[in-house]
Amino acid sequence: MSNRMSNEPLTNPELAAVHVDDDSEDLSRSEVLLKGALAAGAVYGTLAVGPYVRKALAMNGGGDVEILNFALTLEYLESKFYEEAKSRAKASGELKSLVDLLAKDEQQHVEALEGTITKLGGKPVAEPKFDFAYSGTSGFLKLAQTFEDTGVSAYNGAAPMIKSKEVLTAAGSIVQVEARHAAAIRLQNKEEPSPAAFDPPLDEAQVLKAVEPFIA
């Protein structure tokens, strides 16, 4: 891990700066997964996240509850990020409305996922502590773009493993909204709303090898 980190430039250095608290002794698998996904995204770009998640979940059997708990952890992150951004991002006008909308959407995703996990007889993971290192509007926008693109890749990577059709459609319903968020944020950054014709991870074997050191 350290070799690769030092030899290769970070694709998303701001992503690597996100701190997910791992002081607690009962670090949940979802937190470990999230940390790995963020690390993979930081080093190799968000396209690397999907296969990482797929592999990591597959290694542990990855039932629907586990997939949903991973999604929940990502949504906790996004929800907290936008909630904080209401005061931290110094957004105004159109962007301020967008931040409010995104905060609301992500909070609804959190609630829906918690409810679904409970209905399936599972236990929603606890919300980790996050520390977002950014400053100002441009710092916020940059990190937001990475989170949203990462979210899309993570859902797209994990969704084919979902067993229940209902859960799959619900996940699809959420990932489409993440993709819409990603496009909106990208436009704010004056970037292509859809940088490529396909949102999935492509180079699976190579990426898997590279991210294995991140899997606890």
Binding site: Y155, M161, A170, A184, A197
Partner: protein
Amino acid sequence: MADMKQLAGPQSRRRFLAVGGGSTALAAFLAACGSDSSSTTTTTSMGGGKSETAEFGKGDVGILNYALTLEYLETAFYGDVVKSGLFKGSDLATIRKFGEEEAEHVQALTQAVKSLGGKPAPEPKTEFPLKSAKSVLELAGTVENLGAAAYLGQAANIESPEVLASALAIHSVEGRHAAALNTLLGESVTPDGAFAVPADVPTVLKSVEPFIVG
């Protein structure tokens, strides 16, 4: 797994969909999923009936050909819009980029149908009303939002995980296109709220019918 069995029935689906604090978005989502309350079969799926895409082929081939038909339509639409001269500069660049991405979807879906041993759906002849930049953007927004909803409506019907992964990869790009066009139009990027609503095949086909001339 006991949970899985319970989930398969429409009753538990309602329970599942009831999560999220009674938001109207989820209520709309539920409505879009149909209300076949008498059915207890485990093959009940979110897109409606199992044979919704039967006219396009069997199983995954039918779903892929349905998607291919929509992608042909989108590709032709953007091609016509580029040629129309109604757009310049960055708007034209965006439209051209979206059109190129739809063309890539056509290629990928054609390949996928062939790899499953199926026959790709023919390219439909299309005609679009291209009156003004504004009306064209509105139509583009309608088409992209519909396309995203169409993919979402079929996701749970797909059998092959590989085909599903490909469809999801396209689905979110359609969502991105839709959001970008909604932004240009000054409309909400998430018109369905926090949960995108799927569309079934009859709804989608009825909406695109006016543009198919042969």
